[in-house]
């Protein structure tokens, strides 16, 4: 089990990233908070060592996405919360940003993670395919589809 110091550092370093992925999937703030804490709980209980920061970050992304998916599988929930609530949580500086955010959030689930990881976290298609455990070709198709939409 990791130390309290490790836990505090991980929260400080990855909180925003985990929170964004949670919101991509859950949209309900309370559920997102639960998953957010659950992800970091998994982090402190994970006893293996990470090769480097990148490895640690990719692990957290994968665990967060899986936790969100598990959440839906367990409770068969539907997205009952309006996108406005999510938009409200974001301190968007302009209407344009808020609209973009809403647009991304309104995409089908299979596009959200690749879009976020590609455009925001800066991962390559190969890296994203690896993190999401998808074939590379599938992801390239996702991007093409997104661009054409």
């Amino acid at each position: 089990m990791r130390s309290e110091r490790d836990a505090a550092r991980a929260v400080e370093q990855y909180a925003d990233m985990v929170w964004r992925i949670c919101l991509l999937h859950l949209k309900n703030k309370h559920d997102a908070e639960d998953i957010f804490q659950d992800v970091f709980l998994k982090y402190i209980l994970y006893s293996d060592t990470f090769e480097n920061d990148e490895h640690e970050k990719a692990w957290l992304i994968r665990v967060t996405i899986n936790a969100c998916k598990d959440f839906f599988r367990s409770f068969s929930r539907k997205d009952t919360v309006s996108l406005d609530e999510v938009a409200e949580t974001a301190a968007a500086e302009s209407q344009e940003q808020s609209d973009i955010l809403k647009a991304v959030l309104s995409l089908p689930k299979k596009y959200k993670d690749p879009i976020y990881l590609f455009y925001y976290e800066g991962y390559s298609a190969v890296e994203i395919a690896k993190i999401l455990n998808k074939k590379k070709i599938s992801f390239i198709l996702y991007l093409q589809e997104v661009k054409t939409n």
Partner: protein
């Protein structure tokens, strides 16, 4: 692309959530740690076990390496065996050149004293000193003197030897050590000194046990060229003999016959 990034930039985990998560994680870590009192108990147990093992180890090491009994083996070769509380040989100390030669050939550390005695008597170099004329003196210092003397007398190799088995006290060893003699030889010297006050430690250093014993007998007026084997003498210095010392015992002028002949003395040879 920049717009998507800017849009996501505005989504941040708030400080309240971060703080509550850190607190939540701290609680979870604490919950999963052993309770402090148990931790103290574990520590106390670990320290106690370590202490017991350390003390036990030191005690065992001390028991194995501390001499509690001594056996002096003298003909002309003189050496002492130191025994631990398990009656095992832990050291062999030579007190003259002949003894040194014997000791170099022996590998008796760890042996029981009976095994050691048999091994010594079976040693080719040592057996050179054993003859009808020689006298093997085995002297013991121990709290269980009688048991050890009995054990030595019953050693197979001790049978049919011209030998005497004696007991003495620790003080004899202390004085003998200061004088550079084995306590077995010093014990014999002390006995001779009672009859011949002129005899010195240096004289005895150069005498075989046979020569010392003959000298004692001579002084006692009981000349015996080759005294019979005497394995029953388990007393310390024979005090009753000392009560009637011969006053006309030869002094220095008569010591020539047991002085160093230049070749070293070999008992009985």
């Amino acid at each position: 692309m920049n717009n998507i990034k800017k849009a996501f930039d505005s989504v941040k985990a708030d400080d309240v959530l971060k703080t509550s998560t850190v607190n939540f994680l701290r609680d979870e870590i604490e919950k999963r740690q052993p309770k402090p009192r148990f931790r103290m108990l574990y520590k106390a147990c670990a320290v106690t076990v370590a202490l017991i093992l350390t003390i036990g180890g030191i005690s065992l090491f001390s028991a194995l390496t501390t001499p509690v009994s001594y056996i002096s083996v003298d003909i002309n070769p003189s050496f002492e065996l130191s025994l631990n509380c398990f009656d095992r040989v832990i050291a062999v100390t030579a007190y003259n050149d002949d003894g040194e030669q014997i000791v170099q050939n022996l590998d008796i550390n760890g042996d029981s004293y009976t095994e050691a005695i048999d091994e010594i008597l079976a040693d080719e170099s040592f057996s050179d000193y054993l003859s009808e004329d020689s006298l093997l003196t085995v002297t013991v210092i121990s709290d269980k003197e009688e048991t050890i003397l009995e054990g030595i007398k019953n050693c197979p190799k001790m049978q049919n030897q011209n030998s005497e088995c004696l007991g003495t006290n620790k003080e004899t060893k202390e004085v003998a050590d200061r004088n550079g003699l084995s306590f077995g030889k010093y014990n014999a010297y002390s006995e001779l000194l009672q009859y011949d006050p002129s005899v010195t430690v240096d004289d005895c250093k150069n005498m075989t046990m046979r020569q010392i014993r003959d000298r004692i007998n001579e002084c006692k007026g009981n000349r015996t060229d080759h005294p019979q084997q005497n394995q029953n003498n388990t007393g310390e210095n024979s005090e009753e003999e000392a009560e009637n010392p011969e006053t006309d015992c030869p002094n220095k002028e008569n010591q020539g016959h047991y002085g160093n002949n230049g070749n070293g003395y070999r008992g009985g040879k």
